[in-house]
Symmetry: D3
Subunit: 284 residues, 6 copies
Amino acid sequence: MQKLKMVIPKGRIYAKVVKLLNDSGYSFEVDERVYIPRIEDPEIEAKIMKPQNIPRLVELGSHDIGFTGYDWIVETETDVDEIMDLGFDRVNIVAAVSENNLKTDLHQKRLVVASEYEKIATQFLEQKKYNYLLLRTFGATEVFPPDDADMIIDNVSTGRTLNEHNLHIIDTIMESTTRFIANKNAMKNSWKKEKITEMKMIFQAVLDARQRVMLEMNVPKEKLEEIVKFLPCMRSPTVSPLYGDQGYAVKVAVKKQEVIKLIPLLKKYGATDILEYDFRKVVL
Amino acid sequence: MQKLKMVIPKGRIYAKVVKLLNDSGYSFEVDERVYIPRIEDPEIEAKIMKPQNIPRLVELGSHDIGFTGYDWIVETETDVDEIMDLGFDRVNIVAAVSENNLKTDLHQKRLVVASEYEKIATQFLEQKKYNYLLLRTFGATEVFPPDDADMIIDNVSTGRTLNEHNLHIIDTIMESTTRFIANKNAMKNSWKKEKITEMKMIFQAVLDARQRVMLEMNVPKEKLEEIVKFLPCMRSPTVSPLYGDQGYAVKVAVKKQEVIKLIPLLKKYGATDILEYDFRKVVL
Amino acid sequence: MQKLKMVIPKGRIYAKVVKLLNDSGYSFEVDERVYIPRIEDPEIEAKIMKPQNIPRLVELGSHDIGFTGYDWIVETETDVDEIMDLGFDRVNIVAAVSENNLKTDLHQKRLVVASEYEKIATQFLEQKKYNYLLLRTFGATEVFPPDDADMIIDNVSTGRTLNEHNLHIIDTIMESTTRFIANKNAMKNSWKKEKITEMKMIFQAVLDARQRVMLEMNVPKEKLEEIVKFLPCMRSPTVSPLYGDQGYAVKVAVKKQEVIKLIPLLKKYGATDILEYDFRKVVL
Amino acid sequence: MQKLKMVIPKGRIYAKVVKLLNDSGYSFEVDERVYIPRIEDPEIEAKIMKPQNIPRLVELGSHDIGFTGYDWIVETETDVDEIMDLGFDRVNIVAAVSENNLKTDLHQKRLVVASEYEKIATQFLEQKKYNYLLLRTFGATEVFPPDDADMIIDNVSTGRTLNEHNLHIIDTIMESTTRFIANKNAMKNSWKKEKITEMKMIFQAVLDARQRVMLEMNVPKEKLEEIVKFLPCMRSPTVSPLYGDQGYAVKVAVKKQEVIKLIPLLKKYGATDILEYDFRKVVL
Amino acid sequence: MQKLKMVIPKGRIYAKVVKLLNDSGYSFEVDERVYIPRIEDPEIEAKIMKPQNIPRLVELGSHDIGFTGYDWIVETETDVDEIMDLGFDRVNIVAAVSENNLKTDLHQKRLVVASEYEKIATQFLEQKKYNYLLLRTFGATEVFPPDDADMIIDNVSTGRTLNEHNLHIIDTIMESTTRFIANKNAMKNSWKKEKITEMKMIFQAVLDARQRVMLEMNVPKEKLEEIVKFLPCMRSPTVSPLYGDQGYAVKVAVKKQEVIKLIPLLKKYGATDILEYDFRKVVL
Amino acid sequence: MQKLKMVIPKGRIYAKVVKLLNDSGYSFEVDERVYIPRIEDPEIEAKIMKPQNIPRLVELGSHDIGFTGYDWIVETETDVDEIMDLGFDRVNIVAAVSENNLKTDLHQKRLVVASEYEKIATQFLEQKKYNYLLLRTFGATEVFPPDDADMIIDNVSTGRTLNEHNLHIIDTIMESTTRFIANKNAMKNSWKKEKITEMKMIFQAVLDARQRVMLEMNVPKEKLEEIVKFLPCMRSPTVSPLYGDQGYAVKVAVKKQEVIKLIPLLKKYGATDILEYDFRKVVL
């Protein structure tokens, strides 16, 4: 049987990718001790690796598809097809210095710069014409300043970690999110390409559904037009006649954050029996 | 921008309030270490405090709205508007004594009474004309008797704690549940009042939905009337004609506990394709 | 009031039985420390015991109904009514030996056989005409070979445990799953029998719903027939006319694993506004 | 090389046996996942099993020595040499009934008796001439009464568990502690016997040392006789002359519980520089 | 039998008090669930309470002796005998404000002051002539500023908590450590007084031993005097002649922090076989 | 004040280094959240970093001394003074392949080699003349074969991890243990050099003491010579005459593993009151 080989990142991104797969319908289970996950679809084979390793593994072709942060695609200078930006785990790659360096002209001295990102850091430092010595770090980079480094180049999500170490961002180099990537040759194989395209469609249906809830209500005949007009649905709402000429059942998927404002409004305009519920996928 | 300032109780009530907010649509997240929660609605600002502190904070106006137990509203003699009884965390404030005091006439001796509630306890003891010395407690009150107190005045939910300490309830002073409260001046500001009223409506929709499930079924033409008649819905069910004159799709929100009895009955009366599912809000 | 007495197994099966009860609508809660669970239905009383104890307790009648593995029904030679195979916790009872015994003729020597199942093991060993000494084990049996036993007779789910101890299955004696059982006299009492039959119906509705999801979509008039034809639903789909002659709203419960293939197909055939959501019970 | 095969009990007794081995000098380490412990002495091989399994394993000779409760030696009717009573994990095997049975004549009705100990229970019930049905239990026996059993026969250490289930002891059948046992043939092999005797001696030295602490003090010449007289040592204290005719250094191992009284006394009688410290083994 | 009733504080101080009791020889054990500890000495009875409650309980005489922080002795204005300062759990009671208040003249406005210490806070604020409104807090006080309080009065050990909430100490009101206290009447009862004095002596012996280690070494005859001269012992060292005229065995208890410097020195001066070990009590 | 700056490794080695420092007398405490440890000696300043970072940090001089694995000294090609091999955390750096590659001639194909050690791996692969592509790994390397690598070069302690992934060692490249290292310039500063030498001496005294226990016994006059002769002490035992011409007190530090054999022997030869205890440092 033909197989699609997929690689899934450990760590921070792991839980979100697994939830996406499960919501999509690929019943995904992992035996914690051996890192070999099972997937219900017999045409897919999965493995779990560190996100930093994934771009090169997909480029080399030992896996057809994978999930990883954009930062590591850039850092490892990997040549892969980016199928989809999943929007998860948004971080900035920044340059930061400790308080005492905020008022200094950093171009006047030789900087010790600590970073896990050798390529990204070098390119940034060269372009900004710093005079620097780059220290590749293992694990937490934010503990180096002030004694062991003058500047760090690191990823930042909420900024709390920087804060706790009294570090200040002086430059934002790039933004990174989780990407769904594929090997270039895999995309030239028609069976694999179709399978990957199908996955993308299902992933999109899941991500779209997460932003929305379904509203259902009964609407009297004479109010239908007015209510339909201000309903912020994606397309036109689904309207079915009620029994006995009593009006209409109206159904509409709306953005989650609109509901709080919408329900009082609908009630005011005469809708009754308003219900809200979740759904798991939506395709327009 | 105008802001509504909300205060949320730590401890036993916390999880229930957070679930209510999230089910309502106010995406509420907390960073454990700093006690500063984020809420998606930019017009609301939230803070987490101990429930005992909340009534006074809302009365003083450093917060417009809050959640707290009714017991602490009474104990702190706070002057706030009670918007809604959420029904959570039902406890009784009781007077309890240890076994050896059950057969004594407690009015015959000077009682050492231990309680976290100074005001409530004093009022009760005065009214009952006890001769007492009140000991304000910090933390668990049930460990005081028999050596360190003759009576305690404390809150009780399941009664297990009293049981384990061989304490017996001799009087129930009041009942307390979680309340949604507002500062009196906030209710005079029209923008705030409208926002609070909207919250109340959404909270009610969530609480109502929790008691119910949706039943959906297909009903043959000739059975419709009979079935509709015994359906225990809140209002009339939503009935839509099926395609090809095959009967009707009937939809009705019913109390959870009725379902177990209802499904066998519906089947007997000719309903088919009976489905049960959850929903998150309902407004009638 | 008449009562139905139910006994629920601790351990591996516990969580699955509790979820089944809660999904069914019997709000089931347990106080961890006392093993006395509460159930909302006042006509049912529940207790939690080890699964090995349950068949005899139901047979003796101190409980009317219970849940237990089929293996322990056989092992304890209990005479009960098996109401329903719930399909949970599927295991095989197997005979296994360590690697060094794989190439030996096991009928040539006196085997020490370790097992938690005295009856099942004895019957198997007699029937296969082994020369054996049976060692009843307490707890993990797989640790006995090779020093303390030549063969084990044990239950196996994924086979990992056998693997880790280098044990090889040489015979599969029986298959076991979780069963819903009843005392024979209880089934002769008409009130109890009806209540048990009702439970069985609700359990079945929950188990059926778990395999399925609901798909909802709008279908243009001219595509309806074509789409309805290839929809793999349990019975015919529910079709309702849309407002303004715009086509039909089609609703169909399908097997979970079909969805990934079905959604792209439906879209290709002209369905729009395709939604997927979960439900909790289904009765056909 | 000749080997002595040792089996160590899991569960409640485990930690105490391991501490005894380590204090004795047999550096004992366990890899949690595989149950195969390492011991520094290359002549000893250890395995970990449930205490109930141990008496028969030692009797059959797949292990030369082991540790187990006396209750399981009796229950399994095993023929082994009991080398030493270690005094750990003291429990009573008792018969207990629930409150409502306290006032009944238990010989008047047919009792359902629940017990993990089939042999011990049967022998007791026969001897006491009860009319009974014995229910072999798996796991916690105290949860059977009052519904599922009239009496239990179980082990009891502090009595708390019985208390929490409102059970009352009506008979104490036997007392049990942890024993160091050996296979009878092993004791006929001279190499093994010597090794086992050596272990016993070292175990005794460790157990003796745990009851004692060392006191060291300086004593003026003229007080020596008086102080030595009331010192409650095991044998005569060790007395060494101090430099420069300044008196004596006196050293004595005393029972732990005597120290609190002894130190003030010694000081009063003129001892100075009194020190207390622990030791790990003592052989008199 | 006469009894000495002791009360032990829960929380932060608990572990340290228990260790002191156990090192002293009062084998102290607690059953976590019931708060009733067991002590080997049958003349002592112990109970565990919150530290804030302890001073009044000892003053009232329901306990003869107790352990608590000095801060709560002051706050509760209790009249007890302070037997001994144990030096544990050193904290400062301080006044702190948030950053924005650092540059303000705090006497110019009405301050909202939050504190768990009503008496200590009031006395401080009066004396410093602040214009204030005091808010009694429950639980963490540091979360009140800046919105809910202008100043806090709280206990501080490392200062980290203040730091994390951007609070700055502006005044130190008092210092507090754990105290061993007794009821005044108990000290008039000669049996109790003697028992308390004995405890104090043993506690002191334990605390003294914790600061010290024992050094033992062999010293050649001709070096004895020189070495003895610079040995920083509490009294003169214990010197015993070695066998065969080979010099002396010298033993001396020294402060822990001196050892690192002392060992190289002793070696240089000719001492050999230098050993360091711990002891548990010392009485000079 | 002059300061010696020390850097301590996180992770696997951390606990062992901290225990060494504390046993040595440098009271070392860490506040978990900030990685800034406190040390009692005011002349030492400590910081905690990942072990991989430490060699370069010591070489660059931002720290004077540090602890790290020998593997990372080699991998980072760092020029530091190795003061002492502490013997902790012994691992081998090995080359390993999966089962299917065991029978292949690995020189016949292009190998993908995965390793965290770029330098060590390259040097090994060049020297062995492999045709290879090196993949630098992040985190667990053993999960790469067989799909993502043909060979790994990794550190191995017990071999269990390799085993679980079916990997087989084909070459051992080097052995590594924890080292105490110093910056070369620090060793030229006389104050720092003396301080480092003192630390080394104390560390050695602690490590030596861990291998030994003290035996103390009373020996009758006529047995002394015989017993002293077979005592396996490091130097000659300490012998002091007992009071009243009763023989001698003999004290000797012996290897831990000798004790089990020695005690029975000593008893046989007439020694009495044999005691064993621990000590913390020893300098010969």
